[in-house]
Symmetry: C2
Subunit: 403 residues, 2 copies
């Protein structure tokens, strides 16, 4: 398993493009992304659990009900959510793309991200469609740029692996970075692979993966209306199609997890206003479910997040979050340490404070990647969650997002 370049275009037979069509005023910011597979591909997706769902999600769900798709189109700058003609517009986008590429509109996955509740004008998308399709090539980075909203870092990844003696590839692009919270498919993630796998097994792999990856991130506690993770598998690597569980399926899941966990860290580190990546690692819980509840509560706590921003070893807030997490936990057995590239400091044992050097703790917490390591000494349950610190800039970014 090895990281490689190329993003969504690393797998064979995938092409991408990204243009500025004019949904956003800033002409230097691309706002329309396209990913196309040369061959019809198995398709799977997971969606936000928010009751308010963006119109594109409803259309996508319908389009991949048969298990297949050929293209993914996504605009930023407007979520196309809570608009009276949202579904109509999303369908039109698919139709325009279908006409241009000479494929059925039903083979298009459509997504939107941006402000909720503002009508989405089809005109700029329509006008840009020829250029968008002409631009198709090895342009994963253009597509990755075009789906960014308040992200500050371009997020694309790819990995190389082997199934059935054939070299396979899996690539992806991702965007954050606010309105992100566990218990759903978070943010927008588009994945491509040339491995051959049935739609059913592709959906199974994706659904199982997100429970330990994207559902374990929180930037700000707000579950978005528009988030989805979609994957296309076109089979051009030539491996024997994965049709059931087994060694090949496990290899595929490992490759998927390789990419998704790395994306989790990238998304959390680039959370709105973030200066640090916070990882909460829980071990020794009664079971994995309890471990997850604890890990999520800790990285979601505004007080823990603020303390991390201030490099303050205020471990009482970690215990406080554990206490309200809803998990079964014997507080008297809890051990907490802070870990960073500068080293490790244990701040709490048996649920009580232990003497530690505040200076040493500060030195450790001033780093850019912090692990809050929690050991429960109750069982074998484990979980990891990712988040970021809460900063002045989060407030600044969100205090006036629409202007």
């Amino acid at each position: 398993m090895e990281f490689i370049n190329g993003g969504v275009c690393a797998p064979k037979g995938f092409f991408a493009s990204g243009v500025h069509c004019g949904i956003r005023k800033n002409q230097s910011k691309k706002d329309l992304a396209l990913i196309v597979s040369r061959q019809k591909a198995s398709a799977a997706a997971v969606y936000t659990t928010n009751l308010v769902k963006g119109a594109p999600l409803l259309v996508t769900r319908k389009h991949i009900a048969d298990g297949y798709a050929k293209a993914i189109i996504c605009n930023s700058g407007n979520a196309n959510t809570c608009n009276s003609n949202g579904v109509e517009i999303a369908e039109q986008v698919c139709k325009l793309l279908g006409n241009q590429l000479e494929i059925p509109a039903e083979d298009v996955i459509v997504a939107s991200t941006g402000v909720i509740g503002q009508p989405l004008d089809i005109t700029p998308i329509k006008n840009a469609m020829p250029a968008l399709c002409e631009g198709l090539g090895n342009n994963s980075t253009d597509a990755a740029c075009a789906i960014m909203t308040t992200d500050t870092v371009i997020k694309e990844l790819a990995v190389k692996f082997e199934i059935d003696g054939k070299e396979c590839h899996l690539g992806g692009i991702a965007k954050g970075s606010g309105m992100i919270h566990p218990n759903m498919a978070t943010m927008l993630i588009f994945l491509t692979t040339d491995a051959a796998i049935t739609p059913k097994m592709l959906q199974k792999a994706l659904s199982e993966d997100v429970t330990d990856s994207f559902n374990m991130i929180s930037i700000d506690g707000d579950t978005s209306t528009n988030d989805m993770v979609a994957i296309l598998a076109n089979g051009m690597a030539g491996n024997k199609e994965i049709t059931a569980e087994g060694k090949d399926f496990e290899t595929f899941k490992t490759a998927l997890s390789f990419i998704t966990i790395k994306f989790c860290k990238m998304l959390a580190a680039d959370g709105e206003g973030a200066t640090k990546l916070i990882e909460c690692s829980v071990r020794g819980a009664a079971d994995n479910e309890n471990a997850k509840k604890i890990a999520k509560a800790v990285i979601s706590s505004s007080l823990v997040k603020s303390a991390m921003f201030g490099a303050d070893a205020n471990w009482g807030r970690v215990l406080c979050a554990m206490g309200y997490s809803g998990a079964k936990v014997n507080i008297n057995k809890v051990q907490v340490s802070f870990i960073s590239p500068k080293g490790s400091v244990t701040v709490c044992k048996d649920g009580m404070g232990v003497g530690f050097s505040e200076e040493r703790a500060k030195e450790i917490l001033l780093e850019k990647e912090i692990i809050i390591d929690i050991s429960l000494n109750e069982g074998e349950g484990r979980a990891t969650a990712w988040g970021c610190d809460l900063t002045y800039d989060y407030v600044k970014i969100n205090g006036d997002y629409r202007t």
Copy 2:
């Protein structure tokens, strides 16, 4: 029903005091508060639901198990939580006070607020005990000051009412202002009344009240370890003791609600770093439970809170929070308006945006008290929740709380 002066000393036979004993370094900040009833009083309390509970809560629960108490003592600057000798220290505080006042230690309610996980030294409390008791008088404000942590406003209230032809009084002091979130008895609230009521009915009145008052506030989503609401009723107003439901009980509950709802608004408006009070009023929900879920989700949303700080009428975030609230809601029937002393603007009807003047909305949202008014058109369910905006100062205060 009429607001009066005097705080916890407004009811007959209650005396208060507050001193600087030295738990806090800043000598100008009082850190030890005392409230005493001349006569033994019915006592009731509700506590945080956090699994991690401050030692004082455990001791208080034991002390009022018989339904009676005479005094409330509370320090700020140290939560006495997650300390190996916490219960012992809390018991010692009660004993020292009992000795000084010549009352049983078991008649003392004890509370602490401040940093979690730092040993609480009994010495400054012991040394200050004579002065604390000598200072007892009509000094509600001193006690209110002594329980403040990051609060910026002194919170004391009292109300006058009549039961059984007798003039009764109910007073209180309160402190916020971080680590406050619904689903528990939030923050510290100490209430006194000279109305005669049995411990059982007093507990019933309090438990019922908090579901619509203190459990409907959120400052930052963090449920504290140390919070409690305690009330003493010494019967010195001379009314026939309230022993069951009925007219007198309802009058008492109305008086209680008068005080607690007002405290809710004061606590939310003085939330850490807050510049505005945000009230979310939900009407027309399927039932009250669904209305509560929605109101709480909206005032807890970091994105809504940031938008309010920026006076940005970003109503899509309100709908987003409704969508993940867990409430049953037909989004297509939702109407949202923003209301302030400057007027009202409707921003969403039937779940879709409606045209409105951004300038007018800005003018309304620049005020200090904002109501987010949500109408669901589904049934008779209602709820109100209180919160505040999310600001740079929240991050500043909590980035380095311990120093």
